[in-house]
């Protein structure tokens, strides 16, 4: 099983290395964001938005990339092609998940490293960060799989992905605290899955409120499980 999972993992690495825009979005863009916030805001503000920048990175890496892959490979009949090999659907999914966890962890390390060493961000590192990154990646990989599977075309997959992703990218505490929003929007953002990632990571890394952090982690796990089940239920190698 691991041999086949790793064979597809190598395909993802080669595809990623050949795709400059992917490298920019996942690794260079977070660096730019930390530099921008670190240069124009006091370090307390940067500390506050670092969990949001990590969430932003994991969302863009996983949701948009998997939405595109799931719709494109289906429409190009690449999933059909893979179904004729010993690679199983579950192995493909695990390989995709593994890749996005690693990219998410790399984004985390870059953002935290630059924030801490270049701009003196006051961040706490805790083991709870690991499940946040793992289930965050699982959540957005699953959402991307679901959107890419149900969309009729690559164009509509992109539109749905953007419609789902952009409100989360802006409103859930990624670039400014949710408390800056009007009251009704503060309530509305609670339906956005990224909110639980950003707030929970903020509890663990910034405020040290681990009880609330665990509560948000629980919601994140439940959301990841729900979207994972829905995505894998609808996702098909072969057509009926």
């Amino acid at each position: 099983m691991m041999r086949r999972t790793m064979a597809y993992f190598r395909v993802q690495v080669k595809t990623y290395m050949a795709e400059r825009s992917a490298i920019f979005v996942s690794l260079i863009f977070p660096v730019m964001m930390v530099f921008i916030f670190g240069s124009i805001m006091p370090s307390e503000y940067l500390t506050g938005v670092i969990p949001g920048l990590i969430g932003f990175s994991i969302l863009t890496d996983s949701l948009f990339a998997v939405t595109a892959v799931a719709s494109k490979y289906r429409l190009m009949h690449i999933f059909n092609q893979l179904s004729l090999t010993p690679l199983r659907r579950s192995e493909w999914l695990f390989s995709v998940f593994l890749w996005h966890v690693i990219i998410g962890a790399a984004s985390f390390a870059i953002i935290v490293g630059i924030g801490y060493f270049a701009f003196s961000a006051n961040i706490t590192l805790h083991l709870l960060i690991i499940p946040f990154i793992a289930f965050g990646a699982l959540l957005f990989v699953s959402m991307g799989l679901l959107i890419g599977t149900v969309a009729k075309s690559s164009e509509s997959a992109g539109i749905i992905g953007n419609a789902v992703g952009f409100p989360m990218m802006v409103l859930t505490g990624t670039f400014f605290p949710v408390s800056f929003l009007p009251w009704y929007l503060q309530q509305a953002v609670k339906v956005l899955p990224l909110y639980y990632f950003v707030q929970g990571m903020g509890d663990v890394m910034v405020t040290g409120d681990f009880n609330e952090g665990l509560l948000y982690l629980g919601v994140l796990i439940a959301l990841a499980a729900g979207f994972f089940l829905a995505g894998t239920y609808l996702f098909r190698w072969r057509e009926k």
């Binding site: 080669k14 595809t15 795709e19 092609q81 179904s83 004729l84 072969r238």
Partner: protein
């Protein structure tokens, strides 16, 4: 080796495959020949286990390709129509990926040489020409040394030399005792490669047999073909000689009672000039066009 009976598949109200039956023996090449939209790809997709059938039976190596896909896929190779793959992967990367998945001992370089793609081994898939992509599809279908090879329009869009290269690989594969199912709308391809042919139109098989057998069964024997102007048509009508007109060509079918030398003498004596006069038998293409045409007319009625 392959048994298909009563196979049906509909998409909404369209009956793409409408009750087809055939058998294919080991070590032979079987061609599904038909116009675009005849149901060839739908049929072959069900045989490959990629598409679920509505009804009927399929036996591939004694197994159901949909229900036992996990076992069947290890013993077949598939080259789909308009083959697509990971855009950034090179042919060499792609073959190494497949070799790892199948845990095969095949040498990717030798497969690249076999399909004459070794010069492009490090070119990303998105930069390959249509013919090179098809060749990679063929190479990937051979990685697991399959017992049955399914080729869906393998040479569509290829230049003549690439087409012949693929034909020689198909022949070599058949000579090793393997079985090939191919779909095509090229008559020459079917005549060159196939031991048996099924002509498919509107989801139904309308003729089946060896290429020679189909021509002798459904063909109308010999005919005289004359390339000439309109006055030739008027002359043939005045002599009560039945001829079909196809542009500048007049075709006179020869029944057993017709005396060929008398007919040619009559045309010569008329003094009407012509640029070409040939006597030939029906080809597979003639039979194909007639059968598919009759089927379409029947559908319209």
């Amino acid at each position: 080796m392959i048994r298909v009976s009563g196979l049906r598949k509909s998409f909404g109200k369209i009956r793409a495959v409408d009750g087809i039956n055939f058998e294919v023996e080991r070590g032979t090449v079987f061609a599904l020949l038909g116009p675009n939209g005849a149901g060839k790809t739908t049929a072959i997709s069900m045989l490959e286990g990629l598409l679920q059938r509505d009804s009927g039976n399929i036996e591939i190596l004694g197994m159901d390709p949909w229900a036992e896909h996990g076992t069947v896929r290890m013993r077949i190779g598939v080259m789909p129509q308009g083959f697509n793959f990971f855009e950034k992967l090179t042919p060499l990367d792609s073959l190494v990926f497949y070799r790892d998945l199948f845990e095969s001992s095949v040498d990717p370089e030798s497969l690249l040489r076999l399909v004459i793609l070794d010069d492009s081994r490090n070119v990303p898939f998105e930069k390959l020409s249509g013919g090179q992509k098809q060749k990679l599809g063929l190479a990937l279908s051979l990685v697991n040394d399959p017992e049955i090879l399914f080729l869906d329009e393998p040479t569509t869009g290829l230049d003549p030399s690439a087409r012949r290269a693929i034909w020689s690989i198909i022949r070599m594969f058949r000579d090793r005792g393997k079985t090939i199912i191919l779909t095509t709308h090229y008559m020459e391809e079917a005549e060159q490669l196939a031991d048996n042919i099924a002509i498919i139109s509107h989801g139904r098989i309308i003729a089946e047999g060896s290429p020679e057998g189909i021509v002798s069964r459904y063909g109308s024997g010999r005919k005289v073909v004359i390339k000439a102007g309109k006055e030739m048509g008027d002359f043939l009508s005045s002599e009560r000689i039945e001829a079909s007109v196809n542009g500048k060509y007049f075709e006179i079918r020869l029944d057993p009672e017709t005396n060929l030398s008398s007919l040619i003498g009559l045309i010569e004596d008329s003094g009407i000039s012509y640029s070409q006069l040939t006597v030939r038998a029906d080809s597979l293409e003639d039979v194909f066009i007639r059968l598919v045409g009759e089927m379409s007319e029947g559908e319209l009625k």
